[in-house]
Amino acid sequence: MARKPKSASKKPSAGKTKSKSAAIPATPAPAEFSKEQELAAYRNMLMIRRFEEKAGQLYGMGFIGGFCHLYIGQEAVVTGMQAAISEGDQVITSYRDHGHMLACGMDPKGVMAELTGRRNGYSKGKGGSMHMFSKEKNFYGGHGIVGGQVSLGTGLAFANHYRDEKKVCLTYFGDGASNQGQVYESFNMAELWKLPCIYVIENNRYAMGTSVVRSSALTEFSKRGSSFNIPGIEVDGMDVRAVKAAGDLAVKWCRAGKGPIILEMQTYRYRGHSMSDPAKYRSKDEVQKMRAESDPVEQVRQRLIAKKWANEDVLKAIDKDIRAVVGNAAEFAQSDPEPDASELYTDVYV
């Protein structure tokens, strides 16, 4: 094949190409939390952790069927983001959704009862772990098709824009979904129409069993919007204060009408992809190191102690409270009856 002479590949410098995008914001410093904020974050994250541990137990006991994807390790992401948004803002995510629902303020009983497929579950037992919704709490699912929620979330943002409302939509997806085509179709429209959509990429390093380096040509997910002029920020997704600060910045960006923004949350899941995943694709040491050095709940706990905002007794009391809530939810989810057989044919059409 003929080679072009080297000089031919040199493009004439026609000046800097004009970029319409505003300056990419830098990762903000972690937010300064008050005692109340730290305690709330601790409580909310611990709630997710204990809930998920219980869900894992119930799965092992056969009360929960099908797929069950636990959120343990990633608690700081939803907790910090939820603290950044306001009443009326929407949340949508994929099938690893229990943490998001609890963060949205959905009742642990209703969530757990849905996991066990009972009539007082959020979807009357018809959705299960992966498909749960709460109109009341502006939680739009709970979607089982990888990447599907990204277009849907962009549509929620479209509706906000259509109605001239200042609401924003938090659209969560993982490093795996980041390789789906519709993500980029959505990015394009969101920036084109300046939709108020915060794309929260939860990079937990593994798409099921495939590590990001084995699946992604560009592993810096914050840059995935660069073809569309969407700014992105890398965030320490294990530090709830860092998440909150990034969330505040992103919400402000969207409400100002600047269009979408990407937050890459660098996080980690301790458990397998789903309950049936033995996690042979990573070492036990890797998991242990993350747990020991970066655990989101432990970080807050240590700050609370160090600042003398709480002592071991207070924290134990919180843990006890949470265990009681989760225990009640689990009990409810086991005793609540299955849906009536007549429910088979309801909710197919309005």
């Binding site: 979807s123 009357k124 959705g127 749960m132 109109k135 549509g155 479209f158 085509g181 429209m189 909710d347």
Partner: protein, 461 residues
Amino acid sequence: MPINITMPALSPTMEEGNLAKWLVKEGDTVSAGDVIAEIETDKATMEVESIDEGTVGKILVPEGTEGVKVNAVIAVLLEDGENAGAIDTTAAAPTAEPEKAPQEPAPQPVAASAPTPAAPAKTTPVEPEYPAGTKLISTTVRDALRDAMAEEMRADNDVFVMGEEVAEYQGAYKVTQGLLEEFGAKRVVDTPITEHGFAGLGVGAAMSGLKPIVEFMTFNFAMQAIDHIVNSAAKTLYMSGGQMGAQIVFRGPNGAASRVAAQHSQCYAAWYGHIPGLKVVAPYGAADAKGLLKAAIRDPNPVIFLENEMVYGQSFDVPDLDDFVVPIGKAKVHKAGNDVTLVTFGIGVRYAEDAARELAEMGIDAEIIDLRTIRPMDIETVMRSVMKTNRCVTIEEGFPQSGIGAEITAQIMQNAFDYLDAPVLRVTGKDVPMPYAANLEKLALPSVGDVIEAVKAVTYK
């Protein structure tokens, strides 16, 4: 040799158009590629370029002439040294018919493009869905669809239309003509070519309470979006225990157009008809198109609205009512008859009408049931007819296996077995991808001949 300049086709389905304007006069010299005239259809205006160089010898069709048939000679070019005397005016094809019957698509001049059409049987609707004495206005299906969207958009600010080329281009098939002007860019949204993305975006908007009308340039392209149509739009209501669903219409041309081959010619009625949670509508005439689209936009469920490019330009009577709505889920006895039931929908009604006319000459009185809605299917109307005629032939353009005809056949087996005097037969598209060649395409589509053969078989004639 003088060169004939003929009326060009703007699309494979165009049969005639108007000669809007001549940009040259007799005696002008032109080069190949010069724009010499403008022609228009109800869909678009296009420039006609000279195909060769020479002198405009004679203009055979004056500007302003309407209904000029495709391939009619509209002007003659003279080459160097020729004079107007060389023009054999008898060669010029007849041009416009002064008064064209509005609902009769002329047979295509080139072989095979339109599968059947001849004049549809003149049938008065058996069950008129509007008060007697209502004024009727001849309207194309294209305009009826546009009117339905415009009326609903006027009535409800939450209704908006989105899709490729729906706004500034005025619709790839001109179905959204004029909507941008009336409703503005916020409610008539041109999307990038990104079916998967904008279908999902539409469903998301619907989940928050807006009422999108998503136009697919054709339903073939909706294959990119079928995940959101099925997994997001159709299932969310059920998966959320009734908390949220999607009031959304997915519409666009479905089925075979003409000479566009395998990837652009497929009927998706059976595909979407399979899915609980979806409603699937497939009208034929303009009144049903309008009334059903209005019903679809108001329906709180996701509705697949299957149109047909071949009938967009065809005119039908539409009742002149402020708010003409046809309920979803009701079939129509399109023509009453006693000897055999022809069950069909969409453009299949054309095949049925043409076959019924020929069958009448053979002494067979066919009843035509136009399903109009595929899901929920009005199987009762079909049963009533079959119990009367005791014979049934289904007609559809889709593939045979697991098709609409297969469903109807099974339903009749279960519900009217004892009434049957013959097995139900299906007339369908052939079990092959759509070929391009004109003769093969004709063979691949169901034909009036296929219908007549099937009817003869079930009536033992």
